[in-house]
Point group: C2
């Protein structure tokens, strides 16, 4: 367990850490190899290119993350045949991504921040990277949620699921915003507290009635008019 870390593993560790804190493009191969105590050419040697190093980081993390999420999801429904509670499904999705203690590789919060950071970089291969690692599991959760709130349409469930992704990503990518805004009252570093606050908000959100239809000519959103001066 103390183990000699191979050069390859040291590069993976240090790269995940640096990419997460400063982004992909902003960390050079030079800095990466120097920090890992490895040679400048070692990234090319072990991974082929800087791009493929990122693919390796994703694969190393997502394999156990997806496994944990799907296992938790399966546990929700076990025993009797009834549909699992919404709260259980949400927890099964969020906790493996947030729980630092279950650091299958090196800390869920750090990796989730890496993902969020990368979204802002518009890498040309990012869409492929995300789809390859997340779509299958995400769709499994969409299906499970839909069964728990069968009155909703599929479009609505998908939209609300993407809101969950937003909540998860934003909380991890910009923890200082809420800490500062709350003058320290909210502590994003407290993972368990964080999940505890997220779950009721999200579960009740999913239980909200469908959004009003937007058929042409339909009445505008119920709101005391008055604001109809503009336009």
């Amino acid at each position: 367990m103390v183990a000699k870390t191979s050069t390859r593993d040291r590069i993976l560790d240090i790269a995940e850490r640096l990419f997460a804190s400063r982004g992909y493009k902003n960390v050079s191969v030079r800095e990466l190899t120097a920090s890992a105590g490895a040679n400048l050419a070692s990234i090319r040697y072990y991974f082929g290119s800087k791009d493929q190093l990122l693919y390796a980081i994703y694969e190393r993390y997502c394999t156990p993350l997806n496994k944990a999420r799907l296992q938790r999801l399966a546990d929700c429904a076990e025993g009797d045949g009834r549909a699992p509670r919404l709260e259980q499904i949400i927890a099964a999705f969020l906790e493996p991504a947030l729980d630092v203690s279950v650091d299958a590789v090196g800390g869920g919060a750090r990796f989730t921040r890496l993902r969020a950071v990368l979204i802002g970089e518009n890498l040309d291969f990012l869409e492929d990277l995300i789809a390859r690692n997340f779509d299958a599991t995400s769709l499994a959760f969409v299906e499970a949620i839909h069964k728990a709130v069968p009155a909703l349409g599929r479009e609505e469930v998908l939209w609300r699921f993407s809101f969950v992704l937003g909540i998860l990503h934003y909380t991890l990518i910009d923890p200082n915003r809420i800490r500062r805004l709350s003058r320290g009252l909210c502590d994003p570093g407290d993972t368990h507290g964080l999940i505890r606050f997220m779950i009721p908000f999200i579960a009740e959100g999913f239980r909200a009635p469908s959004a009003p239809s937007l058929a042409q000519g339909a009445a505008p959103r119920a709101r005391r008019t008055k604001k109809e001066k503009a336009k």
Copy 2:
């Protein structure tokens, strides 16, 4: 109103557009000035530096955005003295940021994406930039929301407000994720539809009962045990 655009304004326009799509660090001063049909040295001349150009972009947008949000918030409560409905407050916050038709400067969706992209870049001056432009307005909305759901504690309201920020940011920063995941069923380009889906989810989320307290020794979240093997 048709107006000759000054070089300075052309740079602001093009910089906002390019930063929003590809990030701050990843757009060079060369590309910026070339796209604006201006000289390479003009950014240094007009703004002092690339950093200060970003400050100018924020200021140009946030002044009318904050004004619109606070005006909409004030409109919610007007007339009688009763507290505005939660849905109205949420709409007052979201719509000015999203509504492209109310492009006070150049399109709310684009600027919101710019903000989201920047969060991932870890610029050393970003926290100052955000606090200066957003904190006052955000706190005004937190107070208004708290009045609409007075049973909640302040910490809970602040957390839930940050979830709203997450939903807003994520939807704009990575529209392709939900489009692809839904195989085109969800269209993030449809701003009005988007707001329509967000509002009931968020409003019901705020109406959820408080998160269970996390006092030491308290029972774990109500969930059929069984998962207590791990650890």
